[in-house]
Assembly symmetry: C2
Homo-oligomer: 288 residues x 2
Amino acid sequence: MKVYNDCIPCFARQGAEAALAYAPDDSLLQQEVMRTVLRIAAEADYQKSPPEIAVEYFRAIIKLTGEADPYAEAKRASNEAVMKLLPQLRKEVAESDRPLETAVRMAIAGNIIDFGTPHGQKDNGLLDVIEHAVQSDMCLDAFAVFERRIEDAGLILYLGDNCGEAVLDRLLIEQLPAEKVVYVVRGKPILNDITPVEVPQVGIDQICRVVDNGHDAPGVVIGECSTEFRELFDGADMIISKGQGNFETLQDCGREIFFLMKVKCDVVAEETGLPLGSIFFQHSEACG
Amino acid sequence: MKVYNDCIPCFARQGAEAALAYAPDDSLLQQEVMRTVLRIAAEADYQKSPPEIAVEYFRAIIKLTGEADPYAEAKRASNEAVMKLLPQLRKEVAESDRPLETAVRMAIAGNIIDFGTPHGQKDNGLLDVIEHAVQSDMCLDAFAVFERRIEDAGLILYLGDNCGEAVLDRLLIEQLPAEKVVYVVRGKPILNDITPVEVPQVGIDQICRVVDNGHDAPGVVIGECSTEFRELFDGADMIISKGQGNFETLQDCGREIFFLMKVKCDVVAEETGLPLGSIFFQHSEACG
């Protein structure tokens, strides 16, 4: 997905939030962070996807402030908070009439935990969000294909997104043949996205193989990822992708992908044709 | 008032809105408008007031798009809509126990009509806003001084702000010794601010002298204004200033000014210590 015009002021909003996060005690450095983001957003290639532009300014912010991961503690706390809910949610899945569908809904609900979008939120009220997602209308046209692919696949690539949310990814992976799953995290810290550091906090490495994609975009910019990741991506029989950033970067990649996410900004609402806040389960068929 | 860090993403938001207004049918030109605003906002002097920076990018937008006044029709419609309310509001003022105070409250309420701020609005629901302002709590500590200054003044300078709102300025001027009032408008089109073109639409020129300040900022940047205006400003016995833009540019000018406005953004809420949406009547004493 290329940049919509509405994404452009959103870069500045993200820059202002980053300024506070990366330079919390230095108002002048905050201004420099914002100037840097505005400069990069002004000159960016708007044919790229928003996460490809975001990675440019986040790298510049890290260089400018010397702060690599201001969200480390928030990520840990978010994982811890959702881990506390895991037993209760696991029971709900087990007792459900359709455990796989319930786990999918919960995994999508978890995508609300997002520090990068205007309508994302921290994990307050997460249980409400999850219960709402479990009850919500959701287009399940592709669900039969989803189940069939799981059955047939030799390798299932599961592209993770945020911390906190990752606990609910674990819950869904528990409903899959986990031995066939490779869970993918970001190569370096970016916003509250999960990286190798946070994997043990949610224990996904205890139930399936985990790799990082070797890159630091809040999405999956295939051409920039590690060879290992690209080989997995090309060779996977099934790809499950979590979150808007992955959707924005992979939507047009030509691969069959199951996109699971909450619609968290007006631009993606327009792109998907769904209202803000919708839970989104889409089977993007292979093309090209 | 200098730029707060929170103003910076707001420049980008205003740029995005300007892109739609100044280049409604040309998506690529819209992008150029936004790039231009981002570049100017990135390099701006944050010791200046926000309207001083805004005027830089609005001039660049006008040059880029060749469109001088995209709000001309909206301004006319706004004036017309509020003119229809004038007889009814005039009657309410006349029948009020405290006509001057009621007219002040209505003039402040009119300041909600603003295309430049995130929490401004077009003139929908204006009657409700006015009635609310007439009933609202408002700090009137300075009201006795305000009345005394009106009585004593030889020259009252009334600094206007937006179209639509100007009709309610007229209502207030009708409660003043109008022969002593000079009403000041912007020198050139900027957002929905009133300029000489719109003055006849509200008939202020029929009740008092009107001048333009010779400048195109959405505020009053004294040093950039015409000699005529500066002489009036220096010689006035009393200054009434409407709206946030005038407040942001004149707050620290050292003159005694009565500021009348609605608090329409978080930054001005912080600066004034009042909640968003408050009606603000402040006597800024001469200093320096």
